[in-house]
Amino acid sequence: MTQPRTLFQKIWDSHLVDTQDDGTCLIYIDRHLTHEVTSPQAFEGLRKTGRKVRAPEKTLAVPDHNVPTKDRHLPIEDDIAQLQLDTLEKNVREFGIPYYPMDDIRQGIVHIVGPEQGFTLPGMTIVCGDSHTATHGAFGSIAMGIGTSEVEHVLATQTLLQAVPKTMRITVNGKLQPGVESKDLVLAIIGQIGTAGGTGYVIEYAGEAIRDLSMEGRMTVCNMTIEGGARAGLIAPDEKTYDYIKGRPMAPKAGAYEQAVEYWKTLPSDEGAVYDTEVVVDATKIEPYVTWGTSPEEVGPVSGSVPDPADFAAQGKEAKIQRSLEYMGLTAGTKITDIPIDRAFVGSCTNGRIEDMRAAAAVAKGRKVADRVSAMIVPGSGLVKEQAEQEGLDKIFIEAGFEWREAGCSMCLAMNADRLETGEHCASTSNRNFEGRQGRGGRTHLMSPAMAVAAAIAGHIVDIRDLD
């Protein structure tokens, strides 16, 4: 009998083109997503060396980071952003790459668009010049963020040179409690392993709480894998995965679909497969989680308080925590629910899918955003926006005082006009609370969509479980 293998090993083995004597692997890449920010220098590199794109149909391009989320009929005010968007368009035309321009209903954040179109499938290798490519691992694929030099490498050769990563399994036992979402789960996991905990690993998520998650919820968990330091996170495909894929525009059509499902069913890790590291998490103990610092690991349950830097002395992080609290304008001992909120942002590749819009609307319905707060909802793609509008969610948001925007990365990284002012506290569903991430001097608190909406309404952080 052959050795039991993990989901990761099966996919890796089936993509091996070559192994060098030193163990470095050349792996084949099935799918490549690209956007305007990390690709211009790669195309320029191809042009300079006279190289072609090996398999243009395996790449899909969509602008997302820079695009404005309102007044799309007007010219973009930022000339440099416009140049980057024009450059993408010029490059995809020249190299023959499929492309969804800004006025296409399918335009959106790359990591929302891939799954939505059926471009992302189980058992694949998927890359993108963006660290949150990990999102696509929710389908049981190896999905990794790469740098621009690697983007050029993939364009030219449809392969990547990689060292074999180590494997970690995170088993989440039990069920999540009411009011606790996939976002809380992944924040709790990062709190437990730390932002460097996954460095050098690919993480497989398993256990009852993971199986119970919807595809959207699984994408949220895999998306933030990179915040735990791992390049890829994956979840074995199951009936939910197959159902989600069925009928999507780029998914296998009838006949081929059944054949594909048969193959996908062989992917889950074998009984007895060995991981380099095992982590176990108890889902029943997880509360809604909120970050209070400037790293995703600086996080805690909403019922808690801002910690004392001295508590981190043993880990050698006292100075870092001190700096975080100064930047965040917080003092040790302050209850998390006493932190005031000036802005709220629901969106990003972490929480910009239809399920997130529904969760946000369920809390917003019949309520009003606090006077001190300015809040916006940014759907992850044009299709998410359309679906939400068909369900009447946009009306709920607008009535409650939220702005309802066009699809894009928006205030997740504030490359466009959507950004925080110095000192503002933002309840955000995005994935990074680094200094300056959402605007210079801005203070980000990461949380779930329901929690972000509840905070916008109360004007301070609240425990969603206390809402009547």
């Binding site: 660290s131 594909a260 210079r440």
Partner: protein, 201 residues
Amino acid sequence: MEKFTQLRGVAAPLDMVNVDTDLIIPKQHLKTIERTGLGKYLLDELRYNEDGSEKEDFVLNQPAYRDAKILVAGDNFGCGSSREHAPWAIDDFGIRCVISTSFADIFFNNCFKNGILPIVVSPEDLEKLMDDAGRGSNAVLTVDLEAQEITGPDGGTISFDVDQFRKHCLINGLDDIGLTMEKENKITDFEAKRAQSQPWL
């Protein structure tokens, strides 16, 4: 790619953990379509005040460190995004070697693709190097990739590990894409096999 064999120069201490890619190069500078010219924005928010003037006490603004070629930094350097603008900014500033106890994976990879050597050392060695780097214009280190050794201002040496393939590429200034293209036949064979076994792709 520029070759990396031996590097001798001033090492600047950046005694912070989790220096993320947003700190190394904030997003307002990602709108470029070029690889060059980002050095002036390296560590932007630590280096400049909001009005654009320099923060005098920041290490890279001090006369002794303005021409630093090496950076010594705390744990988990380069965490966050995949932006290659981070190593481009480091390289454009003139820094070709970063030393820390640990690096985020994508950043680590990106360094090698740009002729920058990231070196992982033990916490004890980092402490010593941080100390060495604190000596202003006397903070001169020599990094010898061939020998896998760092020599401090007092002549003491620290040896380090490096992946042999990456070392080979750095020393010879080899371009990955060119190397992979030599395996064109293998890629074509692979594609043909997959078209058979997984025709839905």
